[in-house]
């Protein structure tokens, strides 16, 4: 009997969806708008993240080692740095490499090259460039650099200086901007999503409100709440599925068109590539949101009229 009931509920939901053509069309249309907002939020989140990532990648601190530091000690030190939870990566630049880079940069300046020559030895220090996972974590990395971990096997300090004190203000400000942008992005996302869900919810409420008398008659015939509600929920799920498919279908040409622009504007992310790369995930988000919003709205809207 359960299967028969489910079959009847689904068939009835399906029928009323087609027979209420115009109403269904309007509901689907409103739902498409909502799902577009949700997809837009996902895309702008990706753009924001990519931009913030680019900014984060530009931030690092350099640790300069004393000229007498042994390479062995420096590499051991690099190992301790690399296992720190705050550290994303570190890059070691040996003394000779530092000299090469210096010469290359000042290749046209004869006087500097001459001065180097006269010194006879490499005056440059080896350095380690450290990138943190998050800009706010540089402070704790800097503190670590002042601890005993910077001692060599023989007990002398191998770290000469770091550029953290000079960059500190800039890094801290950046950290604040990044975290504020994150928070703002989240708040905006939440507001947009809630607003658009409310619009869909109200539309479905109106649609079901117009079936108020019908629900009352079903009640008077002794139909159970579940049996009355079922077809409406099926209808809500159909709004969600159809709107979801339409939204995904529209996103393809739209992202294809704006993709190249976003690549220029927002450092290095093409929305179309993003869309294709995350297609199944987006499918799940868009269709899932549609089905959930549609079914829950219908469920709640019918409940109001079931009191008879």
């Amino acid at each position: 009997m359960l299967i028969t009931k489910i079959k009847r509920v689904v068939r009835s939901g399906f029928n009323s969806f087609w027979r209420n053509g115009f109403v269904s069309f309007v509901s689907v249309f409103v739902m498409v708008v909502t799902l577009f907002v949700i997809a837009g939020v996902v895309f702008s989140g990706a753009l924001l993240n990519s931009s913030l990532e680019q900014i984060r990648n530009k931030v690092d601190i350099n640790v300069y080692f004393v000229t007498s530091a042994e390479e062995e000690d420096i590499l051991a030190f690099k190992k301790t740095i690399d296992v720190l939870p705050q550290v994303q990566s570190s890059e070691y630049v040996a003394k000779d490499k530092a000299l090469d880079i210096f010469k290359e940069r000042h290749g046209s300046d004869q006087s500097i090259l001459q001065a180097l020559e006269e010194l006879g030895e490499n005056p440059l220090r080896a350095l380690l460039t450290i990138k943190a996972k998050d800009p706010s974590q540089y402070d704790s990395i800097a503190k670590f650099l002042q601890s005993d971990a910077t001692l060599s096997q023989s007990g002398s300090n191998i770290v000469d200086t770091t550029n953290y004190p000079e960059n500190q203000v800039a890094i801290e400000r950046l950290a604040k901007i990044v975290s504020a942008a994150d928070k703002l992005g989240f708040a905006l996302t939440l507001i947009f999503v809630i607003l658009s869900i409310l619009v869909t919810f109200s539309t479905i409420q109106l649609v079901i409100h117009s079936a108020k008398d019908e629900i009352a008659v079903m009640r008077l015939m002794g139909a159970s709440s579940k049996y009355i509600r079922g077809p409406f929920v099926v209808g809500g799920i159909m709004y969600g599925l159809i709107a979801g498919i339409l939204t995904l279908g529209l996103l393809y040409p739209i992202t294809l068109y704006v993709g190249p622009f976003t690549e220029d504007f927002f450092v290095g992310i093409n929305l179309f590539t993003y869309f294709m790369a995350n297609f199944w995930q987006l499918c799940l988000i868009v269709l899932g949101s549609g089905v959930i919003i549609g079914s829950i709205s219908s469920y709640m809207a019918v409940r109001k009229h079931l009191k008879v």
Binding site: G222, S224, Y227
Partner: protein
């Protein structure tokens, strides 16, 4: 033992209008009861009480010695499945065909697909609408709609058939036909409660008549005529 018993039922709506006042009466099985009265006399409220659509402010309504308004939702559903209801405005489901409208009542009562397939055409033959089975309500005339509503009300072979002003929107010929159908249903053993303010209907039924005025029963005649 009466099938239905109204025990000093009073209904006062939130706007303080008194729809029923200390109404007491009993209905026996297989009776054909006509309730007459002007608009606003309380006939429709009486019907709503019986269907548990409204709760009495005071008093109680018993159906087969159960207090209808003390029942749980599920039990109310069971009671409603034993009552067929027909309304002045037909109240068909607009997006369902004639077949589906009647099938819905059977589905709600938990009948099988086989029963639905065999009973729906049969009951439509009874009300002489066999050829309109796939039409939608908006494609039917008033009389046809009311006959669909009656078919829907009787398809589960209810113990009682309630009809609230069933002929209110119909012309005299359709009215006559509908009354004949009700009489037939009553002869087959179903209790019928009919409200009307149509003198012709009361006279052609010829059974027990309760007359209401301002929420009170002012006459209860075993075999009455329209006397308002």
């Amino acid at each position: 033992m009466p099938m239905i018993y109204f025990d000093k039922v009073t209904k006062i709506y939130p706007d303080n209008s008194v729809a029923l006042e200390e109404v007491t009466f009993a209905i026996e099985p297989k009776e054909f009861l006509t309730v007459v009265g002007h608009s606003g006399a309380g006939k429709t409220t009486l019907i709503k009480m019986l269907l548990a659509e409204e709760k009495p402010t005071k008093g109680a309504v018993f159906f087969e010695s159960k207090n209808i308004h003390k029942l749980k939702k599920k039990e109310i559903n069971m009671v409603r499945r034993q009552i067929g209801a027909v309304f002045q405005d037909f109240r068909l489901l607009p997006n369902k065909t004639v077949f589906e409208n009647i099938a819905f009542a059977m589905e709600a009562a938990g009948r099988t697909d086989e029963e639905i397939q065999s009973d729906v055409p049969h009951v439509l033959e009874l009300v002489d609408l066999g050829n309109k089975i796939w039409n939608f309500p908006h494609q039917l005339s008033g009389g046809e709609k009311q006959r669909v509503a009656i078919a829907r009300a009787i398809v589960n072979q209810p113990d009682i058939l309630i009809a609230d002003e069933p002929t209110g929107n119909l012309d005299p010929i359709n009215t006559f036909d509908i009354v004949q159908i009700f009489k037939k249903i009553n002869e087959l053993g179903t209790t019928v409660i009919l409200t009307t303010h149509n003198k012709g209907v009361v006279d052609s039924v010829g059974g027990r008549v309760i007359t209401m005025e301002n929420g009170k029963i002012i006459r209860d005649d075993k075999s009455g005529n329209y006397v308002l």
